[in-house]
């Protein structure tokens, strides 16, 4: 999809939308709404890149680790519902975040664990296209990561 392709009005329009979104102007099209829920990290959820999410959410450096495991399907049956589960062998885990860098906003979900929690979580996420999925586990103030690839194809005449 290139900007130079004059035939692709739709692509241009979508790019324009994305630019608007990037500039933060996207919000003006929204109806007035209540303030975000207390404790919801607005900045992290609006970040476009993995680095920006890390900076907004943790401010630390990520180290890939085999003590973190992430499980995703190789081929998503539908990008709207992709099962993702993350677990870790680390102790003292305080949070688990899941990033989908190819989505418009990189951070999909972040979980705050308690003293009673076991270091695992499973959920279902939307993925716009074929992407890496990154799990970030925070333990003892440090960040450990693992990643996995998901192939996303279009839905259509099935079922």
């Amino acid at each position: 999809m290139s900007l130079e392709n004059p035939a692709s009005k739709e692509a241009t329009r979508r790019t324009a939308l994305r630019l608007l979104a990037a500039l933060g102007l996207y919000g003006i099209a929204m109806p007035a709404r209540a303030a975000d829920a207390p404790g919801w990290p607005d900045k992290a959820f609006k970040a476009k890149s993995q680095d920006d999410v890390l900076a907004a959410l943790y401010g630390g450096k990520l180290e890939m680790s085999d003590k973190v495991s992430i499980e995703t399907p190789e081929i998503a049956e539908n990008g709207a519902v992709v099962p993702v589960s993350v677990s870790s062998k680390l102790t003292g885990v305080t949070s688990i975040s899941i990033l989908v860098p190819e989505n418009p906003f990189a951070l999909a979900a972040s979980y705050k664990l308690s003293d009673a929690s076991l270091p695992m979580v499973a959920c279902r996420l939307k993925m716009a296209k074929t992407t890496k999925v990154i799990a970030i586990v925070e333990a003892g103030g440090k960040l450990y990561g693992a990643s996995s690839d998901v192939k996303v194809t279009l839905g259509g005449c099935g079922g």
């Binding site: 519902v81 099962p83 279902r124 839905g155 259509g156 005449c157 099935g158």
Partner: protein, 279 residues
């Protein structure tokens, strides 16, 4: 004695000769239909055909099993159960309209109705029940209709399809019309139901695995991730029509009811799995 035996043999040969070129009729159709799928998917257990694409693709099956840990149709099931237990304004219930109080009977629909000479689907029977009790009919494609059929299907899980074609020329005619519909190419793309769900069954089309026609109705109604909601058999038929660029018929159109009758009869013996989830 000798002559008699010869005559019997001759008669048998004559019968064979008459039948050999083309065994026909619903029974023969059903045997050939099921043999085709059992042969095409030798590793799939027969009772598993009601699980559609998940029966024939191991990778998708795993995702499905994860999703089935807490299936997204649970809310619809709850809604259906509540509606089932709530009396109509006249004090009657859905249960009063059906055999066995409506429990464990999904596998016997669609049925031929000798009074009208028409095929009655489960969805049609639910609305007939409502109208009979002074209630407005429900919209056919999604919402409450899907919730109630989900509840009824769940109560019938594991019961094999048991569709009857009574000895009535009108029932046979409906079956034949359904069969013709199933195999006729339609729409600008020139696809028949059979193009995707017989010839193409198990293959990928734009990322989706095409479900085998055998048992395809056993999972109805379904929660499709693609829809993000529940849908009935009508919704699936209508979307199939649109996908082939054929102008869809109205829900419960005679053609759709007939093809449902044909398809369900072809699946006799395949257990009900509904409600289901699909990509």
């Amino acid at each position: 004695m000798m002559i008699r035996r010869l005559l019997t043999a001759a008669f048998a040969v004559a019968c064979l000769a008459a039948a050999a070129p083309e065994p026909s009729g619903p029974k023969a159709d059903q045997a050939a239909f099921q043999a085709y799928f059992f042969d095409k998917f030798p590793d799939v257990k027969h009772e598993d055909f009601g699980n559609g694409p998940y029966a024939v693709n191991a990778k998708m099956r795993k995702q499905w099993q994860e999703i089935m840990e807490f299936p997204p149709y649970d809310f619809a099931l709850d809604e259906g159960k509540t509606a089932w237990e709530t009396p109509f304004a006249n004090g009657h219930h859905y249960a009063d309209c059906f055999d066995n109080g409506g429990i464990g009977i999904r596998q016997t629909y669609p049925r031929f109705d000798a009074k009208t000479g028409q095929i009655v689907t489960l969805d049609g029977a639910i609305n007939a029940c409502r109208v009979q009790n002074g209630e407005k009919p429900l919209a056919y494609q999604t919402g409450m209709m899907a919730s109630i059929t989900a509840f009824m299907a769940e109560s019938s899980r594991g019961k094999p399809f048991a569709i009857e074609i009574p000895n009535d020329p009108r029932a046979l005619a409906a079956y034949e019309k359904g069969k013709e519909f199933f195999y006729s190419r339609k729409g600008q793309l020139g696809f028949a139901c059979a193009s995707c769900h017989v010839t193409g069954a198990g293959q990928r089309l734009r990322g989706d695995i095409l479900a085998p026609a055998l048992g395809i109705l056993a999972a109805m109604p379904i929660y499709r991730s693609d829809w993000g909601s529940m849908g009935t058999t009508d919704r699936r038929f209508i979307s199939c029509s649109s996908q082939t660029r054929a102008l869809p018929y109205p829900a419960q159109d005679e053609s759709y009811r007939d093809v449902e009758y044909f398809l369900a009869y072809m699946s006799n013996g395949i257990p009900i799995t509904g409600p289901g989830t699909r990509p």
